[in-house]
């Protein structure tokens, strides 16, 4: 990495600057900072978690003060969601495996575990779809129905995003050097995100299905 020359700091040059270049440039001056991208992601996840917290608070308040109308249906089967919960929890473990393999230098193994994780995520989504199609209520039937779909749907969106990230990481790790033991950021970020999404699901499962 070359240091910044006046030419690279023109308008076009500034556009080409990435965070990474700036960092390593700083490093030449002996004051480079650690890679803070994971920290940034964690902060973002706190923010994202607050969105869910808002939804959960709304749901709990609805439950506390808005009784279900007499004729409304809001019944949830437990079996499928419980299987789904197990799938997600296992997928957290498999993702962790993938990370360990990568750090151990075993790119092949890492990719395998990644695929397993992705498959588990996809299975979760499929299960969710099955549940959606078999529920006795629709999105606008009543307050609880709407809240149920909003919460699970928003979470499902996160899982979908997670699966896409997994596939991207899998793809990138096939290219030399992009994701490796020396440069594991992509995988670590996806993993952190995945654990977060799983954690949210556990809370959601407890609130929606068990409470």
């Amino acid at each position: 990495m070359t240091s910044l020359t006046p030419e690279t700091s023109t308008a076009a040059g500034a556009m080409a600057l990435s965070a990474h270049q700036l960092d390593s440039h700083g490093a030449e001056h002996g004051e480079g900072h650690a890679d803070v991208r994971l920290f940034g992601l964690a902060t973002f996840l706190i923010a994202d978690g607050m969105t869910f917290a808002g939804f959960f608070a709304a749901y709990l308040t609805f439950r506390a003060v808005n009784p279900l109308p007499a004729d409304a249906t809001y019944e949830l089967e437990l079996l499928l969601p419980t299987i789904n919960t197990v799938l997600l929890l296992v997928s957290s473990v498999t993702f962790h495996r993938a990370g360990r393999r990568l750090m151990g230098g075993d790119g092949e193994g890492a990719r395998l575990w990644l695929l397993v994780t992705g498959a588990l995520g996809a299975a979760f989504l499929a299960g969710q779809m099955v549940e959606y199609f078999h529920l006795p209520f629709g999105l606008t039937d009543n307050l609880y129905a709407s809240t149920f779909y909003a919460l699970t749907g928003f979470h499902g969106l996160h899982v979908t995003l997670g699966v896409i990230c997994i596939l991207i990481v899998w793809w990138q790790s096939r290219q030399a050097g992009r994701i490796s033991a020396a440069n594991p950021f992509g995988l670590e970020a996806a993993e952190l995100y995945w654990h977060f999404v799983d954690g949210i699901w556990v809370v959601l499962y407890g609130l929606l299905y068990l409470l």
């Binding site: 910044l4 006046p6 700091s9 023109t10 308008a11 040059g13 500034a14 556009m15 600057l17 990435s18 965070a19 700036l22 440039h25 700083g26 001056h29 004051e31 900072h33 650690a34 803070v36 991208r37 920290f39 940034g40 902060t43 973002f44 706190i46 923010a47 994202d48 978690g49 607050m50 969105t51 869910f52 917290a53 808002g54 939804f55 608070a57 709304a58 308040t61 609805f62 003060v65 808005n66 109308p69 409304a72 999105l139 606008t140 009543n142 307050l143 709407s146 809240t147 909003a150 928003f154």
Partner: protein
């Protein structure tokens, strides 16, 4: 450390050339900061023009200037533009981006690309918002609070565009917040401890925590609201079994912290400006830090004081009254510290100082009416009246906007290398201060005596004071002229400022003005005493000691 002299930079011209970079996806924190500043200012003019429409309409008790539904669109746009496109982007985005990397001794923000994205979310959001006025059905007309069920029954397209726009702006502010937290906590140059940081860093840290914790809740709420509008769900629709008060809780869970998002950075800026022009250390640095954190914590648990008449249960009213009142304690600490900073100083009464001191006056007034509002029985009478309008304009305008002006006079030489004209500055101050008080002080009386807010027509008994208020607004509009003239002319003809016209000690002044792309040639200076002004008591003859002497002394 050494202060680089301007000649060091002349040769290579590290500055990217041309004004075009201000329209580009620049990653330089200083360019982004100025982009925020100028964009925000454009929106201030738009929001002010909308306020002009409001005050023109209210100059007479009948609805004559604009139709009633247009009036509601105008006031909704005014509130939204002023909060989300002027105050928040400028006190956070503009000054935060420009100053924070200097203060932590970094060459840029932690995530420059995210930073640029955050800025570039703003113009489209603004265009969406303003543009919604011109579509059929018009802009949203349910106020900046968008309470359902009203917001579910007004023309849907305008309301949905409003939601989209606020979501974009919320996203921008979350990205900004993440960037500030990471930069302040993780990018400090080696040797710089948290307790060495200039106060503005602490203010931005506190603000960003609030942004990250509360803005997502608003985003989620608005998504649910848009479902209610578009997909006919019933979260907040009582006729479908929903609960409108839940919306209010969620909305204010964000929007009360939002008021501290608007004012904490301003507190930080004042803490930078006062010591420089009073030539004294910032009084009570440590308590200042704790009071910021106190405001952050308290700010998160007082939201329901906006809902005292919404049928909230008694225990809730009691709790929120007490919690809200206690915000006076940490806020008071800051104000007394500022007064003590001025006490015994060598105060230069320039425009920056005048605006900062007027800020103290206005904010204390607005804060006291705020404490009154926090008392449930008092609020029952004045909720949703012009008393509240008076309260918050004293704070958002008399507080934050005054500080923005003050900061402009203080940092303009940093941005451009030239000073703003002092005479025009004082004229600007005088007109603004007079106009502002004329405009908003009478509103307290109006509210107490029975004028509700958000009305296009009112009891003719209130005509006189409304007209006074409108004249005040006119003065404020006029007062922007000297400012605009000053800012534009001084960019070309202003008196050259040198690198450090105020003989300040904070790190942004320890480089050239305007600074080079990478902020410093060579290493970033380590400033552990950003407020090391002043003479130890009894050591030097006060009248004789020269500031620059002291300044050098404090550089070790």
């Amino acid at each position: 450390m050494t202060v680089a002299s301007p000649t060091d930079f002349e040769a290579g011209s590290l500055q990217p050339e041309g004004w075009l970079r201000y329209f580009s996806f620049s990653l330089d924190h200083k360019v982004i900061g100025l982009q925020y500043l100028v964009t925000g200012f454009v929106f201030y003019l738009i929001g002010g023009a909308l306020a002009g429409v409001i005050r023109t309409e209210l100059a007479s008790p009948i609805s004559d200037f604009v139709s009633r539904d247009v009036y509601n669109q105008i006031l909704t746009l005014h509130g939204t533009v002023m909060i989300f496109l002027w105050i928040v982007p400028v006190v956070n985005g503009a000054f935060g981006n420009y100053l924070i990397p200097f203060y932590v001794g970094a060459r840029d923000m932690a995530f420059p690309r995210l930073n640029a994205v955050a800025f570039w979310l703003i113009p489209p959001a603004g265009i969406l918002l303003i543009g919604s006025y011109f579509i059929s059905g018009g802009a949203a007309q349910s106020g900046w609070t968008a309470y359902p069920p009203l917001s579910l029954t007004t023309p849907a397209l305008g309301q949905v565009l409003w939601i989209l726009s606020v979501l974009l702006l919320g996203g921008s502010s979350i990205f900004g917040g993440i960037n500030f937290i990471a930069t302040i906590l993780k990018l400090r140059r080696p040797g710089l401890k948290l307790m060495h940081l200039p106060m503005y860093c602490w203010a931005m840290l506190g603000t960003s925590l609030l942004v990250v914790l509360s803005t997502p809740v608003l985003a989620g709420t608005l998504i649910l609201l848009s479902f209610d509008i578009v997909a006919h769900t019933g979260f907040f629709n009582p006729s479908l079994g929903g609960n409108v008060v839940v919306y209010q809780h969620l909305f204010w869970f964000y929007s009360h912290p939002a008021v501290y998002i608007m004012v904490l950075p301003a507190f930080g800026l004042v803490s930078e400006i006062l010591p420089v022009h009073a030539r004294k250390p910032l009084f009570g640095y440590t308590t200042m830090v704790y009071s910021i954190m106190g405001i952050v914590v308290l700010g998160l648990i007082v939201w329901a004081h906006h809902m005292f008449t919404s049928g909230t249960p008694p225990w809730m009213r009691l709790f929120f009254t007490i919690a809200t009142s206690f915000i006076a304690v940490p806020t008071g600490i800051k104000f007394f510290n500022w007064l003590a900073t001025l006490w015994g100083g060598r105060i230069a009464l320039n425009s920056a100082m005048l605006f900062s001191c007027a800020f103290i006056v206005n904010f204390v007034f607005g804060g006291i009416t705020g404490i009154a509002l926090a008392q449930v029985p008092f609020d029952i009478h004045v909720h949703d009246t012009y008393f509240v309008v008076g309260h918050f304009h004293y704070i958002v305008y008399g507080g934050t906007v005054f500080v923005i002006f003050s900061a402009l006079y203080h940092w303009y030489p940093k941005f451009t290398g030239r000073l703003l004209n002092e005479d025009l500055g004082r004229l600007h101050f005088l007109l603004t201060f007079l106009g502002f008080n004329l405009c908003f002080a009478p509103q307290h009386w109006l509210g107490l005596n029975g004028m509700p807010r958000r009305v296009a027509e009112y009891d003719p008994a209130f005509t006189t004071w409304n007209q006074v208020s409108s004249v005040g607004a006119l003065l404020m509009a006029i007062s922007t002229l000297p400012l605009l003239i000053n800012v534009i002319l001084s960019a070309y003809r202003g008196q050259p400022a040198g690198d450090n016209p105020w003989r300040a000690l904070t790190p942004e002044w320890l480089t050239s003005s305007p600074p080079p792309v990478e902020n410093w040639v060579g290493e970033a200076p380590l400033v552990t005493h950003p407020y090391g002004y002043g003479t130890p008591e009894g050591q030097l003859d006060l009248a004789a000691a020269s500031g620059s002497e002291l300044w050098q002394a404090s550089q070790r």
